[in-house]
C-alpha cells in the first residue's frame, strides 16, 4: 500500500505541475532579454562570416492580409535575392492582438528581430524596452531623410526609436453620384470648411435612396472608441486646437477649438447630416454603398472602397479625393497614422535586421509597395519621386501629408484619453449637454489620467 501511496503522490504531483505550468516565475525572461541585449553587438559581428544564411524574424500583419499579401511576398523575394546571406521568417499576427503578442514574446525572451508597429504601438514598445534606437542602427542618411512630422512622432527623449515606413494621412473622399443628385458639381469638391458643411447639408436633404436607405451628407464618427477620439482631435485641428503643448501638458480645452468642434458635431448629428453614434467601420461601408456623401479617411480608402462596394476598380469612377477643406487656421488640417518598423533591443541579429529595415524603406521597396497598394513613403526624397506621384490619388495624399500632423501619442495613456474624449460627443449629441458642460465634465478626467 505504501508503494501505491508513493506512486499516487508522484502521479498527482506530475499532474499538478502540468496544471500549474503557468505559475512559473517570469523573472527569467527578463534576464533572458537582458542577456540578449548585451550579447547583441557580439553576435551580430560574426554572422556575415558564416556561410549559412542568417534567419531574421519579422513580426507583421501585412503578410497574411489579403490586401497586402502580394506586396509582402514581392518585398521579401526581392530582399532575399539582393541579400542571399539573409532569410526572412514571417511571424504573422492579427492586427487586433499585435501589440500584446509582441510584448508577450519580448517579455518571454523570444522577441522578433524586426517588428512592424504604428503610432499607437511604438510608445508601448519603447516603454517596455522592446525597441532598439533606430538612429544607432540605421544609416544616418536614411534617418535624416525622414519627413519632419513623421520623425517627430518616433523621437523619444531625443532619440529616433522607430523607422517610419508608410504614413497614412486622412483626406476627404466625396461621392460624385450623390453630388450630382444633390445638384452639386461632381468635379468640384469643397475647398473650405463652410462649403463642406453646405454641400453635406444639400446631400443629406436627398433623404433616402430608391431602396429606402437613408443618405447622409458626411460621416463623422461618434462611437465610443479611441478612433472617434482621434477624429474629434482632427476636427479640432481645423479650428486651431491642440491636444498637448511642447512640454506634453494637455491644452485640449484651452481656447475655443474643442468647443467649436463639438458644436460642429452637434449641428451635423442633430440635423441628420451625419449618422449618430457611427464607428469608422460603419462609415466606410456606407460610403462604399452610396449612403454617404463625404468621408475623411486614409490612403488605404481606395482599396477598402473597391472591396466593400463589390465593384472593384470600377467604383473609382464614382468618387474623388481631395485635401481636407481649409478652416480657421487657413490650412488643410488633418492627422496621419503611420506604419513603422522597429529593430528590437533583444534581437541577436541586429545588423541583418537593420539591413532589412533599410531595404523596406528604400526607393526600390517603396516602389513595389506603392505600385501594389498605393502606400506612400515617409522619406522626403522618395515621396517626391514621380513614380510615387503618378496619379491624382497619390498626389493628393502626398500633398495632404505636407500639412498633416502626427497624433500626439507618445504618452502611453493617449489611446485611453482619446477613448474618454468621445464621452464629450455623446454628452453633446445625445445627452443634451452644452459643449462647455461636456468639456468641464470630461477634461479633468483626461488630465487626471495623464497624471497617473
Amino acid at each position: 500500500m505504501k508503494k501505491w501511496n508513493k506512486m499516487a503522490m508522484g502521479v498527482t504531483a506530475l499532474s499538478l505541475m502540468t496544471a500549474l505550468a503557468a505559475c512559473g516565475s517570469n523573472s527569467s525572461p527578463a534576464s533572458n532579454t537582458a542577456s540578449n541585449t548585451n550579447s547583441t553587438k557580439e553576435s551580430a559581428a560574426p554572422q556575415s562570416t558564416t556561410d549559412k544564411p542568417v534567419e531574421i524574424s519579422f513580426a507583421n500583419w501585412i503578410s497574411v492580409e489579403d490586401g497586402t499579401k502580394e506586396a509582402y511576398n514581392q518585398l521579401i523575394a526581392e530582399f532575399e535575392k539582393a541579400n542571399p546571406s539573409i532569410k526572412v521568417k514571417s511571424i504573422g499576427i492579427p492586427f487586433a492582438q499585435f501589440k500584446d503578442q509582441v510584448l508577450v514574446s519580448s517579455a518571454g525572451g523570444n522577441p522578433p528581430d524586426v517588428t512592424m508597429s504604428n503610432q499607437n504601438f511604438t510608445p508601448a514598445f519603447v516603454g517596455a524596452n522592446v525597441a532598439a534606437p533606430a538612429q544607432d542602427l540605421l544609416n544616418a542618411e536614411i534617418i535624416n531623410d525622414i519627413v519632419d512630422a513623421s520623425k517627430a512622432g518616433v523621437t523619444f527623449d531625443g532619440k529616433v526609436m522607430a523607422m517610419p515606413w508608410a504614413p497614412h494621412p486622412s483626406a476627404l473622399f466625396w461621392n460624385k453620384n450623390l453630388y450630382t443628385k444633390a445638384g452639386l458639381d461632381p468635379e468640384k469638391p469643397p475647398t473650405t470648411w463652410d462649403e463642406m458643411i453646405q454641400n453635406a447639408k444639400k446631400i443629406a436633404a436627398l433623404g433616402k435612396d430608391e431602396n429606402g436607405t437613408p443618405i447622409y451628407g458626411i460621416g463623422e464618427t461618434g462611437a465610443s472608441d479611441s478612433y472617434t477620439g482621434n477624429m474629434l482631435l482632427r476636427i479640432s485641428y481645423s479650428f486651431g486646437g491642440k491636444f498637448v503643448d511642447d512640454q506634453g501638458n494637455i491644452v485640449y480645452d484651452q481656447g475655443t477649438a474643442l468647443k467649436e468642434s463639438l458644436l460642429y458635431m452637434k449641428d451635423l448629428i442633430d440635423n441628420k447630416v451625419s449618422p449618430q453614434g457611427a464607428a469608422m467601420a460603419d462609415l466606410r461601408p456606407m460610403f462604399a454603398t452610396g449612403a454617404l456623401g463625404m468621408l475623411v479617411d486614409g490612403d488605404f480608402g481606395r482599396t477598402n472602397f473597391r472591396n466593400m462596394s463589390g465593384k472593384g476598380a470600377e467604383f473609382d469612377k464614382e468618387w474623388g479625393v481631395t485635401t481636407v477643406p481649409v478652416s480657421k487656421t487657413g490650412k488643410s488640417e488633418t492627422f496621419f497614422t503611420e506604419h513603422q518598423l522597429i529593430v528590437t533591443a533583444g534581437s541577436e541579429k541586429q545588423e541583418a535586421a537593420a539591413k532589412f529595415v533599410e531595404y523596406l524603406v528604400s526607393k526600390e521597396a517603396m516602389g513595389i509597395y506603392h505600385k501594389l497598394n498605393g502606400v506612400m513613403s515617409a522619406r522626403k526624397s522618395i515621396s517626391e519621386l514621380p513614380e510615387m506621384n503618378e496619379d491624382d490619388y497619390s498626389r493628393i495624399f502626398n500633398t495632404q501629408m505636407k500639412t498633416a500632423s502626427p497624433l500626439p501619442s507618445k504618452n502611453p495613456k493617449f489611446d485611453n484619453a482619446m477613448k474618454n474624449s468621445t464621452d464629450m460627443i455623446v454628452m453633446v449629441t445625445e445627452g443634451g449637454k452644452s459643449p462647455d458642460e461636456a468639456i468641464a465634465t470630461v477634461m479633468p478626467k483626461i488630465k487626471e489620467l495623464y497624471k497617473k
Partner: protein, 292 residues
C-alpha cells in the same frame, strides 16, 4: 441515472396529457431563451451566405434570399484553411487523449489514497483554474521557451491539457468516489493487480465521466484562441481560431463573409462530436450531484 439528468430528459419526451398553463409558460420561456442563444449561430450562417457587399447594405438582410456559397467554395479550396483545420484536429485530439490519461490517474489517486497534504493538493489543482488565462500567458511562454517547445503542436497540446486538467481531475475524482471500494477488494481477492483493477473494473464504470472529460477538453482545445495565437507563430502550425482572425480580420477591413463561412465550417466537427456524445456529457457532469 441521477435526478437532474432525468429531469433534463423529461423535456424531450412527448407528453400524453395537455400541458398545464404553467408548463406552457415554461415552454415559451425556454423557447425565448433558445431563440436568444441560437440567434448568433443563425446570424453566422446568414452572414456566410451573403457577399461582403450585400452585408454592408442598410437595412441588413435578415434572410439569405439569394444565398451565395462563394465563401464556402473559397475556404474549401484554400490550402491554408485546410492546414488550420488539420492542426486543430491534431491538437484537440492530442489534448483530449493526454487529459483523459492524466486525469484518470490523478483522479484515482486523489479518490483512493489519503496521504499527507492530499486535500491541499486538491485545492491547488482547483486554484490553477482560478487564474485568468491571460495572466498566465507570459509565464507559460517563458516556460515553454525554456523547454524549446514554442512553435510546435506539442506546446498547444500541453497548454490545452493544462487548461482542462483541473476540472477534469476533479470530475474523475468525484466519479471514482461514487464507485464502491468493495468492487476493488473483490478484484484484489481474485488476484487482479491495482492497474488491472483500475482499467478492467473502475475505468469501464467511469465511462460517462471519461466521455464528459473528452468532450470538455476537445471543446477547450478546439475553441482555443489565446494559446494558439501566443505559443505558435508559424502559419503552417496555426490552429483555426487564430488562423481565422489572421486571415479574415484585417487592419482596415474585415472579410465577414469569409470569416463566418470558415467559422461555420469549423463548427461542424464539434457538432458531430457533441451530437453523438452529449448524453455522456450530461451524465458525466451531473455525476455525484445527488447522494444515492
Amino acid at each position: 441515472m441521477n435526478q437532474i439528468a432525468k429531469r433534463l430528459l423529461k423535456f424531450t419526451r412527448p407528453q400524453s396529457s395537455t400541458p398545464r398553463t404553467s408548463e406552457l409558460g415554461s415552454y415559451i420561456f425556454l423557447g425565448a431563451i433558445l431563440l436568444f442563444l441560437m440567434f448568433p449561430v443563425y446570424w453566422i450562417i446568414v452572414t456566410s451566405l451573403h457577399t461582403n457587399a450585400d452585408l454592408l447594405q442598410l437595412p441588413p438582410k435578415w434572410f439569405p434570399v439569394n444565398p451565395d456559397f462563394s465563401s464556402y467554395k473559397e475556404i474549401l479550396g484554400s490550402s491554408v484553411f485546410l492546414t488550420f483545420y488539420k492542426n486543430t484536429i491534431l491538437v484537440a485530439s492530442g489534448a483530449t487523449v493526454l487529459c483523459i490519461f492524466v486525469s484518470i490517474f490523478a483522479g484515482y489517486a486523489l479518490s483512493r489514497f489519503k496521504f499527507k497534504g492530499s486535500n491541499l493538493l486538491t485545492l491547488l489543482f482547483l486554484s490553477a483554474q482560478m487564474f485568468p488565462t491571460v495572466t498566465l500567458v507570459i509565464g507559460l511562454y517563458s516556460q515553454y521557451q525554456a523547454f524549446n517547445l514554442l512553435n510546435t503542436h506539442y506546446v498547444l497540446i500541453l497548454a490545452s491539457t493544462s487548461a482542462s486538467l483541473p476540472f477534469s481531475i476533479m470530475l474523475m475524482r468525484t466519479f471514482f468516489n461514487g464507485i464502491s471500494r468493495e468492487l476493488e477488494e473483490a478484484a484484489e481477492i481474485d488476484g487482479a493487480s491495482r492497474f488491472k483493477t483500475l482499467f478492467a473494473v473502475i475505468v469501464p464504470l467511469s465511462k460517462p465521466g471519461i466521455m464528459a472529460i473528452a468532450i470538455y477538453t476537445f471543446l477547450i482545445a478546439w475553441d482555443d484562441f489565446l494559446f494558439g495565437l501566443t505559443l505558435v507563430s508559424d502559419i503552417n502550425k496555426r490552429t483555426l481560431s487564430p488562423g481565422l482572425s489572421l486571415t479574415y480580420l484585417g487592419e482596415y477591413s474585415a472579410n465577414w463573409s469569409g470569416a463566418t463561412a470558415a467559422a461555420a465550417a469549423a463548427t461542424i466537427p464539434l457538432l458531430i462530436v457533441f451530437m453523438f456524445l452529449q448524453r455522456y456529457m450530461v451524465e458525466g457532469l451531473t455525476a455525484g450531484g445527488v447522494k444515492e
